[in-house]
Symmetry: C2
Subunit: 207 residues, 2 copies
């Protein structure tokens, strides 16, 4: 069982999907939920399921991004974490976490990267007028929403969509895709080659 930490800042719907998947199927277990927002929904969900939680607020690190990242990284190391899932974690982290967990920090983004990076992807996709958007799961690197892409799934934009309706359909896809990618990662099904992430055809096979 791959020891996994989930970082979240919000209501924790992605976290819930990951917790459910870990409980029912594995091959990863959530050993820690870490948040930067005391009192957030993600915290309550974790406590309800008896998952250990930690809080590192931005303020407790004096708004120093490097110190903030280092504090989180040390906690992850103390929990012997092997895999880190950023599930609606709204702070940008520095390279210290990538160095500590190379090719093991996964983020989810509500657009088909490289289109619509940043915090307003759903609104920007609607403003641009795309007919297809989607969800990207990627490894983080030094740039925001830029690291090697592990998986993507397309979602059609409907003529009647607004940000709320489109976001809801993107989240549905995210709740399936992210736990699946974590499971496949834990099963060793991904091999990173530069920017390309090769998905191996089946467990135990090499290609």
């Amino acid at each position: 069982m791959v020891r996994t930490a989930v970082l979240a800042s919000g209501t924790g719907t992605n976290l819930q999907a990951i917790l459910d998947a870990a409980k029912s199927a594995g091959p990863f277990e959530v050993v820690l939920v870490l948040t930067d927002v005391d009192g957030c929904g993600a915290l309550a969900r974790s406590q309800a399921q008896g998952v250990p939680t930690e809080i590192v607020t931005w303020e407790s690190c004096g708004g120093d991004r490097s110190l903030f990242t280092l504090s989180i990284t040390r906690i992850l190391q103390a929990y012997d974490v092997e895999l880190v899932a950023l599930a609606g974690f709204m702070r940008i982290l520095t390279s210290e976490i990538i160095e500590a967990f190379p090719h093991a920090v996964l983020n989810t983004h509500p657009a088909l990267l490289p289109a619509f990076r940043g915090a307003h992807a759903v609104e920007q996709a609607l403003e641009y007028g795309v007919r297809v958007t989607g969800v990207t799961i990627h490894l983080i690197d030094e740039e925001v929403d830029h690291g090697p892409i592990v998986a993507q799934m397309a979602v059609d934009v409907l003529s009647e969509d607004n940000a709320a309706s489109l976001r809801a359909r993107l989240q549905e896809v995210e709740h399936q895709l992210f736990p699946q990618v974590l499971a496949d990662w834990a099963d060793g099904l991904y091999r990173v080659e530069g920017r390309r992430v090769i998905r191996l055809p089946a467990p135990g096979l090499s290609s």
Copy 2:
């Protein structure tokens, strides 16, 4: 029947799909195929089907983009064209054609715009490592690969893909999507609202 011109520079596989669709289903007819490349495959295909053809070479316009566009626009007007399909037309046109045919010049692009604009979209998508790319049909505007998006369809990138294999799958989709969009355009199913193109639910209904 909406009088349609197809502009092409290459082998004409998109043109062929459009000619086939026009013949079998309408509601548009191809009244002209215009090319900038004498001797190209698109020219041969048109002549084989008895479709009128015109050639306007870049050189005949002294490499003047505005003059080149104006020459083409005048020919399109002489043929009483209502709809223009850029089907692998490899020259950039200026705004004169947009002014003459507002919201009626459609282009196809082998990526999910706004990702991977320009002439090397397939190669760039592979280099970036996306897992989903696709085809975009859009109205042209003053910027390259930028106008309002009419339709998009996603295509999965496979771990074993190279540019040739991915391009082949994109073209398959293009050959279905572009004729369908032309038919829907001819049926009056699209309404342009700024950057967003609304697809009406069914012929004759307003939404």
